[in-house]
Symmetry: C2
DNA sequence: TTTGGCCTCCTGTCACCGTCAAGCTTATAG
DNA sequence: CTATAAGCTTGACGGTGACAGGAGGCCAAA
């Protein structure tokens, strides 16, 4: 971007430039509007240049998804650690807050990350996808319902992930809170997360 | 499809044929693999014929989405009425079962229906989208927590929809139950729905 | 310092796509 | 029977992903 003038035949950091441009492009034009040639244009290289860094368009998209999951995991970690001093249930809510904050800030990328099947985007070799999310969730659930049976823990994980994922997805699609202000919407999200956390806590002691 | 031989210059029912072909194509090739020309090919007409029935490719996709919501609503209605004799909470679970059954049977279409924002698909004029789902859910919640305040009812609706939507979405993406058999996966879904229904019922009497 | 190899990028091309324009064929209303 | 409209076809245009082949620039070995 900023190197537009002072560059010679070689770009210098085309791979990163393509990722940056691609990420912005996805949010601007949507998943179907994403174009390899437009990425190249924004990086100020020829239309065939990206091929030397990404085998195909899907390869670039897979990289965007990969980085998305890394960022999502980081956001969840940050937000749950912010509530580290409080009780475990609060950290579970924090996990959900981080999840939703990332999705709200990167709506199309988030949808892409969870539409790989529908978009036929194959994960790259050694790509762990949402595995870190599963681990993060399991670790906190350990503190909330540590001594429960495996079956209960799995049920708690299902419920927790499903609730946070479903809520923010429906918000992004405008199915929930389209007319609400940002503040009201956040309150609805927090209320949903709180109800979820309470249910999870109850699962341990029936 | 079956009329391939005995048709003249006019197809007879091209619009329906395109919808049928399009629906199958979406599931086969994914959202991004969907092609207007391939739809025309499968309906055995020229590449420009669809233009007389759909203004654009997005127009055909919007029609697929429209019919998808109609079917989803029907599936939810059927499944919740199956439990009509039981208590309201069972009907709420039934609603979720119908929701998930449709999604499992039409995974890509379902993803498309809830990726309109990310795919920049504008709903057509007079298209009510998921409005009927909202109504269906509100009606059943009336029976479960009829006398509650509006705020509580909204919270219950948020939680119920988010849970069922989140769970099946994560299943379709392979994030939940990838290694489970169909029977085990259904049990996990039912357990999640049951926990959700219990929480909703508890919201009414705190 | 020179030189060879290799990585990076470019131009050109191909098949395929969505959309538009113009014309041909058939059904139907008058 | 005929005019008119509706349904379908052919053809073209610009844009796209991918591939082939060539040119430019960097760097290490000589």
């Amino acid at each position: 971007m900023t190197r537009s003038k002072a560059r010679g035949y070689h770009h210098g950091d085309l791979r990163e430039a393509l990722v940056t441009a691609g990420r912005k492009l996805v949010e601007e034009k949507g998943i179907r509007g994403f174009t390899l040639r437009e990425c190249a244009r924004r990086a100020e290289v020829s239309h065939a240049a990206p091929a030397h860094h990404f085998a195909s368009m899907d390869d670039l998209l897979a990289e965007l998804v990969r980085r998305g999951f890394a960022e999502l995991t980081a956001a969840m970690t940050t937000e749950s650690e912010r509530a580290a001093a409080e009780e475990p249930a609060a950290r579970l809510v924090g996990l959900g807050v981080g999840y939703m904050a990332f999705a709200a800030a990167n709506p199309t990328l988030f949808q892409l990350m969870f539409s790989r099947e529908a978009n036929h985007i194959e994960p790259k070799e050694g790509d762990e996808g949402a595995e870190s999310i599963r681990r993060l969730l399991a670790a906190i659930l350990d503190d909330v319902i540590g001594d429960a049976a495996d079956e209960v823990r799995q049920q708690a994980a299902d419920l927790a992930w499903a609730t946070m994922h479903g809520f923010i997805t429906l918000v992004l699609e405008g199915e929930i809170g389209r007319r609400d202000s940002s503040k009201v919407l956040k309150a609805r999200g927090l209320a949903t997360l709180a109800a979820m956390a309470e249910t999870v806590a109850r699962l341990a002691r029936p």
